[in-house]
Symmetry: C2
Subunit: 358 residues, 2 copies
């Protein structure tokens, strides 16, 4: 089914309103999810809406959070999300980072007591719209084993860096720090296909191509896949995300991070509050004039796009470009939804008395 973004937006807003969110929060949360679908990141858009509802059912998401700054300096702050939707808490925190950057050149906010915040790119791009460089990262449910271990200790912990350009779209590096994101495994599971070696290990710590190994005590591997190919670097990046997001803010870290899936209970011995994010903004003109920077960004993009190709039909992909193109296209064509997601959304519609997608 292909649904116009306006239809899907209204639908999503109505679900959040039914959960008890304010109009402002429902619109914002829906905007984050719809933007993900628009950018072609289907795994993090409305496909996750029922996941948020299930966490709300378990009273793990507070629909009316009192989001507060608990500590700050002119350019740093710690925010408590009051167990609200990360979709709402993270933009609140990024707004603080942007305001600090406007006054002092840069702003950095670590967030505790939050939940899943959608795509990192949404938050980082808030800064880009103000001619700033945006940073966004979050920790997540433990699925990834550090190098030399077969224990799930870290989430897929994404990091995002976003840079404005002039005529080209913004350069947006938005990546899980694992070799493969969980969404790709789910696709293989549904299709009954094997996955490449280097994505997951089984419960004994051996490489496996069985996408179901994760459910049977296996774990995702850090970017780099094994020690010889630099998995200790993927582990280091994931550790960095965990520390900036959670050790710094007072959220749960490592294996204590509460799971996104509602059927697993959070650990009973938490080391902090909820999950953590880290958001930052730096004014480009804190370093050099904006037009100079953007002109050189265009030159950077242009040079990399014209790098020598191995396959004449496949050039270098600039980070953020496929997502930008998807957004342009889906503005016109609408958002394609697979049957499982439509079914999922229409069950929510029935439950909350909202008009179904058809």
């Amino acid at each position: 089914m292909i649904v116009p973004q306006s239809t899907l937006r209204t639908f999503t807003q109505n679900i959040f309103l039914a959960m008890g969110c304010s109009v402002e929060h429902a619109h914002l949360a829906a905007d984050v999810l719809i933007r993900s679908d628009m950018r072609g990141i289907d795994s993090h858009g409305v496909a996750r809406l029922s996941g948020y509802v299930l966490l709300w059912d378990k009273k793990r998401i507070n629909p009316t959070p009192n989001i507060t700054i608990v500590h700050q300096t002119p350019t740093t702050a710690t925010v408590d999300g009051d167990a609200g939707l990360g979709l709402v808490v993270a933009p609140f925190a990024m707004q603080i980072a942007i305001e600090k950057a406007e006054k002092y050149g840069s702003g950095w906010v670590s967030v505790r007591n939050s939940n899943h915040f959608g795509i990192s790119g949404y938050h980082a791009l808030m800064a880009v719209e103000r001619d700033m460089i945006g940073f966004a990262m979050t920790n997540a449910s433990p699925l990834v084993a550090p190098t030399f271990s077969n224990e799930r200790m870290l989430g897929t912990n994404p990091m995002c860096y976003a840079f404005p350009a002039a005529n080209y779209p913004p350069v947006v590096v938005d990546m899980a720090t694992s070799a493969a994101a969980n969404g790709k495994l789910e696709i293989a599971q549904r299709a009954g296909k094997s996955v490449p070696e280097g994505w997951i290990q089984d419960s004994d710590g051996n490489f496996t191509t069985d996408p179901h190994a994760l459910k049977n005590g296996g774990s995702l591997l850090p970017l780099g896949s094994d020690r010889e190919h630099g998995s200790h670097k993927g582990f280091g990046l994931s550790a960095t995300v965990d520390i900036l997001s959670a050790v710094l803010s007072g959220a749960n870290y490592g294996p204590w991070v509460p799971p996104f899936v509602s059927f697993l209970d959070p650990p009973t011995d938490p080391v902090g509050l909820g999950i953590g994010h880290f958001l930052g903004a730096m004014r480009v003109d804190g370093f050099r004039p904006v037009d100079e920077f953007k002109t050189h960004m265009d030159n950077w993009v242009n040079r990399f796009k014209s790098a020598q190709k191995i396959d004449p039909n496949q050039g270098v992909i600039i980070p953020g470009e496929p997502e930008f193109e998807a957004e342009q296209e889906r503005t016109i064509t609408g958002i394609p939804l697979v049957d499982a997601v439509v079914k999922d959304l229409n069950e929510l519609a029935l439950r909350f008395g909202i008009e179904m997608l058809h």
Copy 2:
């Protein structure tokens, strides 16, 4: 040969003095190189001393730079290194970041017109000593091809994040954003050994295990090795380092970065000045009390060290721990130097009339 650090330090200082550096700069530059050897990162210590001298011979390194701030806000700055040693320019820039962080919570400095800065960890640890979180990155000579290309467009562009702990040593994530660092290739070349698939590609863009392929038009691969295993993420990280270090500061970026080896001339159509770095510091107590943070860092380290092992003899390695242990050990034992390095250093001693290592 095993040399006490004090002997090697004096030797190195004397070389920099002979190049015309001030006493202060000679001591600082030697400190950066010796610290690298002390931390067991032999590829970036005195083994590179002759490389700096050769660049000075070519007048590409200015021994008496007038390092200046060319642009700033309360928490951001751009520094021009005046073609000085990166070993001196980067600590100058980090000092500015630290002073800004002391006043405003955080400080961020992008650097142009510099040269190779040694190990990232040295600079990031300057912040850690002040109970701050340290960031350091640099771009470098183009050796790495982006995903889908066989053209050398990026350096091994390292990034470093360093965090203080209480009883444990600082957690220091200090990593090249390529699958393997160039130093590892050089070791395989000298030993006449092949390297694992996924480190390099030949000039046609095919995986190769021949460590000499790099000399014959091949290229290093980004962290992740190939698209299926996330090489686009390694490329994205390397791009991030390049943009923050050079597009932001006005240094050369991408394939325009001047080569470290003196026998290759810099491009004749530069897009900026020298190579670029990016350094940052954030006060821990800008987010939460230092003792709280450090206590949780210790808990983080402790939990990861006790993660379930695949091989009972090999536990999880905490980033920065092997380097800390090397530093402890080499303080007592001295610094081991391979014959080729001793020969190289003694040629410098002969040339400059300095007492040889023996």
